[in-house]
């Protein structure tokens, strides 16, 4: 029974990983950018939601509603100010510039908010610890269920948006072949800016859930980035449903690892990540792109 419970809790934990990986996966799928500042931006939005909630005395959920347009605007600025410039200089530069951004953000947050750990749990009353109790002593946290629902809705909603709306189609066209997209009348710059804005909205949601389910401090970002990155790679880069699966696999692996040994939590996750990666390379042979499930781009 404990085993089944661990798997169940792993699914809920994985839903959180899927949530935090969503923006990373989306941005990689559209622009082939691995945003190394992803985790730090999630923590930043955690602080933003906390500040708004404290200042106006509102619940974190309401504060998130206010934070969403702010983060969308930040996404637009991030694209125009940093990503677009670095993309022009080759594939390596976005890695360096977003890594630099992560360092700047982490230390600026340390400067501004200090080293104290913060949490949004105070603001959501008993939601942070309430649970539904099932048979056999299995308890399911209400916040965990909410996280799962939000993760599925967000990833599914994004997928629907990409498939069904004109902007979604334009984003997919730019992801495949930006030059040809321009030739059919799409403004790739604006599409990329919109996509980055959408990615940062998902990061704002993820940062809020990070703050509600746990604590964060200015240097929490990189750890979150690693979990998000592992979820993306396990699920297949750039695929949104794959990201959900990847998050859940990671969550289950971590929980089962912690059953084996107290230190097994992180090791279990990393191990599954490495096994999936090695298996992909083994099956794909020398084609590393298909190993990482990176779709090929049209060549000129």
């Amino acid at each position: 029974m404990a085993f089944a419970d661990q798997i169940l809790q792993g699914i809920f934990l994985g839903a959180y990983y899927a949530l935090i990986a969503c923006g990373l996966s989306f941005l990689f799928g559209v622009m082939r950018i691995i945003n190394l500042a992803h985790g730090s931006i999630a923590v930043l939005s955690g602080y933003l939601v906390l500040a708004l909630a404290n200042h106006f005395g509102i619940s974190p959920f309401l504060a998130l509603l206010v934070a969403v347009p702010v983060m969308a605007a930040a996404g637009f600025v991030l694209q125009r100010g940093i990503l677009e410039r670095s993309l022009r200089s080759g594939p390596l530069i976005p890695l360096l510039s977003t890594f630099g951004l992560a360092v700047v953000l982490d230390n600026s947050m340390f400067q501004a908010f200090g080293a104290d750990t913060k949490s949004l749990a105070n603001g959501i009353g008993d939601l942070s610890y309430s649970s539904w109790n099932g048979p056999g002593g299995i308890a399911v946290g209400q916040l965990a269920v909410l996280t799962l629902v939000v993760a599925v809705a967000l990833l599914g909603g994004l997928q629907l948006f990409l498939n069904r709306t004109p902007l979604g189609r334009a984003i997919r066209a730019c992801a495949e072949d930006p030059e040809t997209a321009e030739l059919v009348g799409i403004d790739a710059r604006n599409v990329y800016a919109a996509a980055t804005a959408i990615a940062l909205v998902t990061v704002a949601i993820a940062g809020t859930f990070l703050g509600m389910r746990a604590t964060f401090d200015p240097y929490t970002g990189p750890t979150q980035l690693i979990f998000a990155f592992e979820a993306v790679v396990i699920g297949g880069a750039g695929s949104l449903w794959g990201t959900l699966v990847g998050g859940v696999v990671l969550g289950i692996a971590q929980n089962l690892g912690s059953q084996i040994s107290p230190q097994g939590f992180l090791i279990g996750g990393h191990l599954v990540f490495l096994i999936v990666l090695a298996a992909r390379f083994l099956f794909a042979g020398r084609d590393w792109r298909s190993a990482l499930r990176i779709p090929k781009r049209a060549q000129a």
């Binding site: 004109p166 189609r169 334009a170 997919r172 066209a173 495949e176 072949d177 030059e179 040809t180 997209a181 321009e182 030739l183 059919v184 009348g185 799409i186 403004d187 790739a188 779709p295 049209a298």
Partner: protein, 242 residues
């Protein structure tokens, strides 16, 4: 007055000058064919007109307005559409999505999803298939249809028959007749089949090593004249049969 005007255009790929001092015009409804060997600069010329490639000097004017450094997507809104070499469909998207994504940003007019499918009936059974799975001829039809979705006033066609079977080429050109029959769209096409060019085009320009070495009405040019210019047999004798 000509709808599309190219004056003293130069374009390069790094050190290689692909287009040298080219001047061309195309009036409304005209079909201008560009012929020339591989590497003569035809594709670069079309890409420069469409805004995908930056000119080093010279002017491209459309309907009296100089386009300058205007980006490709803005030129589509004015009414210039390019069917690129190699078709360049969005392979992961369905045929219908390929058409819709181009229709969203362009001009409105005669061409809609319905009329494009009418003009290219071979696409009808494949609308929901990923465009990457189609045959070459179907892909080419989809690529032309995609360009038409923005209701261009000038349609630039780059080697629509490249890599297609003769049957597929005929089918694609048959469908193009619908566009030609309408008579208002100006077409600039690059094509290797000289017989077809002389039958289809109203004017022919032959390029050699980046320059236009022969230009004239299709009805007044003989196959031999074009062939000579194509291979550069008359170099130095002065070009241009206007």
């Amino acid at each position: 007055m000509s709808l599309l005007q190219v004056e003293n255009l130069n374009a390069r790929h790094g050190l290689l000058q692909a287009v040298r001092d080219v001047s061309l015009e195309a009036a409304e409804g005209e079909i201008l064919a560009l012929v020339g060997a591989n590497g003569a600069g035809k594709t670069t010329l079309l890409r420069t007109i469409a805004g995908s490639h930056r000119a080093t000097s010279g002017r491209v004017s459309f309907d009296g307005t100089e386009l300058g450094a205007m980006r490709a997507n803005r030129r589509v809104h004015l009414g210039i559409a390019l069917v690129p070499e190699g078709r360049r469909l969005f392979g992961g998207m369905t045929v219908e999505e390929n058409l819709k994504v181009a229709g969203a940003g362009g001009r409105t007019g005669r061409w809609t999803l319905t009329t494009v499918i009418e003009a290219f009936p071979m696409l009808k059974p494949h609308l929901k298939r990923r465009s990457g799975e189609l045959s070459g001829g179907q892909q080419q039809a989809a690529a032309i249809g995609r360009a038409l979705m923005s209701n261009p006033r000038v349609l630039l066609l780059d080697e629509v028959s490249l890599g297609l079977s003769p049957v597929a080429v005929s089918a694609v050109y048959e469908s193009l007749q619908a566009v030609i029959a309408e008579g208002r769209t100006t077409i600039v096409l690059v094509e290797q089949d000289l017989a077809r060019v002389l039958r289809l085009a109203t004017r022919v320009a032959c390029m050699l090593e980046g320059r236009v070495v022969l230009e004239g009405k299709a009805s007044e040019l003989s196959r031999d004249q074009v062939t000579e210019a194509y291979f550069g047999l008359r170099r130095g004798e002065g070009a241009g049969v206007h």
